[in-house]
Symmetry: C2
Subunit: 226 residues, 2 copies
DNA sequence: TAAACATTAGACGTCTGATGTTTGTTACGG
DNA sequence: CCGTAACAAACATCAGACGTCTAATGTTTA
């Protein structure tokens, strides 16, 4: 008749529903999602169709499928899995330069939308970061450092920037760990985080950008010779 | 035994082989890949397993599966499909700001690694871009404009930056088309591409960055009021 | 002759059922 | 208390079948 109803593949719809279940928080990160037979019953599709959808999202990094155990939620955004796979295919130097690009923009935007509450939170993180360094707790230092940078990205008010920046997480942490092992790296002083925060508080975007540039120059000095 | 042979899912291996077939150029972009029965015979797996792999890569943007027709190669990198899906979930303003971050870094790096051959190529593209504008061929203008930016990203020498920048392609083109429709947008003059190229040729990274900043400021003025 | 319609072969979409493998748990025996 | 064996749950894979869609080809008709 007159209804040339083009039916989109069922599997695509299942992908969307699974994605929604994650982003809506129905299944939190780390949780195990229902088993295949349960999802088959819920979505009224065959196992094959369901598995195609789960596989697609697993490949994207949203899920991790453990044979004989179950499927777990590993991320809330699809960018992380793909991004991490891509990052590993490039030189550390290239990855760092891209992070720098995002860092610079985050600093610039954060300076433009200064928020006293966020700034106070950033100061707390910076203090924690400093204390961790002097006490030799490198694990805590790395965590606080990353939280600081991530919060700056969030303070930019640009959700895409924040999401992209977050996707660098694991890769950057790995790189940082390597850097820490290099003798002579001073995690407390030469990275200019205090200056960055001051610039953000002052609303001086240009100054904020320059502190980030200085930071990169310092970091690049500790990059392994290619 | 000392060999706890953990066998990774067959589908994952198929994913890798399909990916290699694309990146190695065995199947070029736009080409149709062999049918499912043919691939089943080649990889010695069941159709269900093969489909899981194809679906995963299709979701990642590498393939496009057309029902009743076949499966076509749509990209050589997995980042594009995922990225484009993510971009659409964010404000145009946020996307533009991220592009600006990459643009700035590309300009800075390109200025640092000036190459006479590339610069000549960039001049050609810029000339084509200018001619297209005065002749009113907006299609060609948009294409030349994008090629110019993409070549700058490539000239940065950072393959990850180039890949990420390329992933913006479709989204940016769409945005640019909208901008063009806005009355008063001057594609030939106010975007400072000539100044950018001059700065790159002079090896002046700071100047290159400033032209990009000026460009963004101009573009942001034409953003639809949120 | 050319445009509109009908047919057909190939390709993807989905379902069903069965069997293999891996993992986590539990109960048993030492 | 501990190690091991048996069991159950969950994912992995396979094989076959049928439906539906697309593109190409063939046929009819104005």
């Amino acid at each position: 008749m007159s209804t040339p109803v083009v039916r989109p593949p069922l599997a695509d719809e299942v992908v969307a529903r699974l994605r929604d279940a994650v982003t809506s928080g129905r299944w939190g990160v780390g949780e195990k999602i229902p088993s295949e037979p349960e999802l088959v019953a819920e979505y009224k599709v065959s196992r094959g169709t369901l598995r195609e959808a789960v596989k697609a999202l697993a490949h994207a990094g949203l899920f991790e499928v453990l044979r004989g155990d179950g499927t777990y939620v590993r991320a809330t955004s699809e960018i992380s899995g793909t991004a991490q796979r891509v990052y590993r295919e490039h030189l550390d130097e290239d990855v760092l330069q891209v992070r720098f690009a995002l860092d610079t923009q985050a600093a610039r935007l954060a300076a433009g939308s200064a928020d006293t509450a966020v700034i106070a939170e950033l100061r707390v993180l910076l203090e924690k970061r400093r204390e961790s360094w002097v006490s030799g707790d490198y694990e805590a230092w790395s965590a606080a450092d990353w939280e600081f940078h991530l919060l700056v990205a969030q303070a930019s008010g640009n959700s895409l920037l924040h999401e992209l920046y977050e996707s660098f997480g694991d890769v950057f942490h790995g790189t940082k760990m390597v850097q820490r092992l290099e003798a002579g790296f001073d995690g407390a002083l030469a990275t200019g985080h205090e200056e960055l925060l001051d610039a953000i508080e002052a609303g001086d975007g240009e100054a904020a950008v320059h502190t980030v540039i200085a930071n990169l120059d310092y970091c690049m000095g500790w990059m392994p010779a290619k």
